[in-house]
């Protein structure tokens, strides 16, 4: 979805070739989310099908100039004016890993947390070096500023992950220090259809 609107936003500045769109998209985002040219042409095909862009001039797909239509501008305007949907979060491998780890015998959750924390910090160091370099160059152009914003988004998201890991660690320590509750009886099979909110409080309380 973001590629579709990203390309529309670039076309709003004037007609572009497919290869040009790919380069400009990557320049704005510092190649953080690299595009392959196949994705670009597939997306352009769908945008043309939906009437949001039109080809200009002749030639084959690779040498085709595309321009945004009025309908495309309206759709782009809607995209900018509406918030990005966060109510359907994408699957997060780390959250799934920790959720699985706490219930798996023999898995050292603290070690998983520390290994991830080190990796996340190392990634933040990398982003911060790039950010310091970007700031030292005194960003002026739209591309430079866009790259800085993307880098800062990566830093803030990594920071949130790091803080969440700290929180997981301290919560697990607190829970481990409590007297152990009596083991619940084995849960009935899935076809018993027990509602999720019937879970014992101790389990539900670990979500964050």
């Amino acid at each position: 979805m973001s590629i579709r609107y990203g390309l529309l936003a670039l076309l709003e500045q004037g007609p572009r070739y497919g290869s040009q769109l790919r380069t400009e998209f990557e320049t704005r985002t510092g190649a953080t989310w690299p595009l392959n040219i196949g994705q670009v042409y597939t997306t352009l095909g769908r945008l043309e099908r939906d009437g949001l862009i039109v080809p200009e001039g002749g030639g084959d797909a690779k040498q085709q100039l595309y321009a945004i239509t009025d309908e495309g501008r309206r759709e782009l305007g809607d995209w900018f004016s509406q918030p990005v949907d966060r109510t359907q979060p994408s699957r997060d491998e780390l959250a799934i890993k920790l959720a699985m780890a706490v219930g798996t015998p023999g898995v050292d959750v603290a070690r998983i947390i520390q290994a991830q924390r080190r990796h996340t910090l190392a990634a933040m160091q990398d982003y911060t070096r790039l950010k310091a370099r970007a700031l030292a160059a005194e960003p002026e152009s739209g591309d430079d500023i866009a790259w800085l914003l993307v880098l800062e988004q990566l830093i803030f998201f990594a920071e949130a992950e790091s803080r969440w890991l700290d929180h997981c660690e301290s919560r697990l320590l607190r829970l481990a220090a409590r007297p152990r509750p009596v083991e619940p009886a084995p849960r009935p099979p899935a076809d018993a259809q027990a509602p999720a909110d019937d879970r014992p409080k101790a389990r539900g309380g670990t979500s964050s």
Partner: protein, 242 residues
């Protein structure tokens, strides 16, 4: 990097109290920081971060092990010699700035130099140059209570950096600052480090620790892990091309 680290902690131990109520704040910590290296120390409250920094700066005495600053064993020095090293080799930045309220920004910066025997006029000139370097020349004659928290902290950093100090120790220097001002403080420390100083930053905020070359994780008085310096450069394929 030089062969001799600017700061070396060897089997450093600090125990508060004795007997069954003794608190083992540091348990045999080994850490070397070289010229031009920026190390961040992270850990939860009570992990020993601040103890490590106060020992490294000669503000407290170890119960075991050694602190060596530019090869000098702080534990083996006379009080006068230790005080001189603290004034000339070590710059300390505190969370609560610790500026002297009755002195102006320039006077706060010049004071340690004057205590070290530098003529008042020279010390003042150095202080003004230090303020200029951090973009706060206009605050030279202001008193701490006439400055914002961010301005006071930057003056405190200028005080820690003035002269030839090769070791800068910063204890949560961004604690009370907003995000952008905190970043300006880190940029100052980073620059000083790039000019050749060794910097140790204690922080619980990963975003600020990420300015360091190496991040050390402390738990219960022990170093449990650390990031390898410069290990993540390949994470962003496009980063190197910009």
């Amino acid at each position: 990097m030089t062969a001799t680290p600017v700061l070396r902690l060897a089997a450093l131990t600090r125990v508060h109290g004795s007997g069954p109520t003794a608190v083992h704040a540091l348990k045999g910590v080994d850490l070397s920081v070289h010229a031009g290296e920026f190390v961040a120390v992270m850990g939860p409250s009570g992990s020993g971060k601040s103890t490590l920094l106060t020992l490294a700066g000669g503000l407290d005495t170890a119960t075991g092990g050694q602190v060596l600053v530019e090869g000098h064993d702080l534990g083996a020095l006379s009080r006068a010699r230790l005080a001189k090293i603290r004034r000339t080799s070590v710059g300390y930045v505190f969370q609560d700035y610790n500026l002297i309220p009755a002195l102006t920004a320039a006077e706060n910066i010049a004071l340690p130099r004057e205590l070290d025997g530098v003529a008042a006029r020279t010390a003042r000139r150095e202080a003004l140059a230090a303020l200029d370097e951090i973009g706060l020349s206009e605050l030279a004659d202001r008193f701490p209570d006439e400055m914002s928290g961010g301005q006071q902290q930057r003056v405190a950093i200028a005080r820690a950096l003035v002269g030839e100090r090769r070791l800068v120790l910063a204890d949560e220097p961004t604690g009370a600052l907003d995000s952008e001002t905190g970043e300006a403080v880190l940029a100052l420390l980073r620059r000083r480090c790039d000019e050749g100083a060794a910097v140790v930053l204690v922080t619980h905020e990963s975003r600020y620790a990420a300015w360091a070359d190496r991040v050390v994780f402390l738990r219960d008085g022990t170093i449990v892990d650390q990031t390898a310096a410069g290990s993540a450069e390949t994470l962003l394929a496009g980063g190197g091309t910009r």
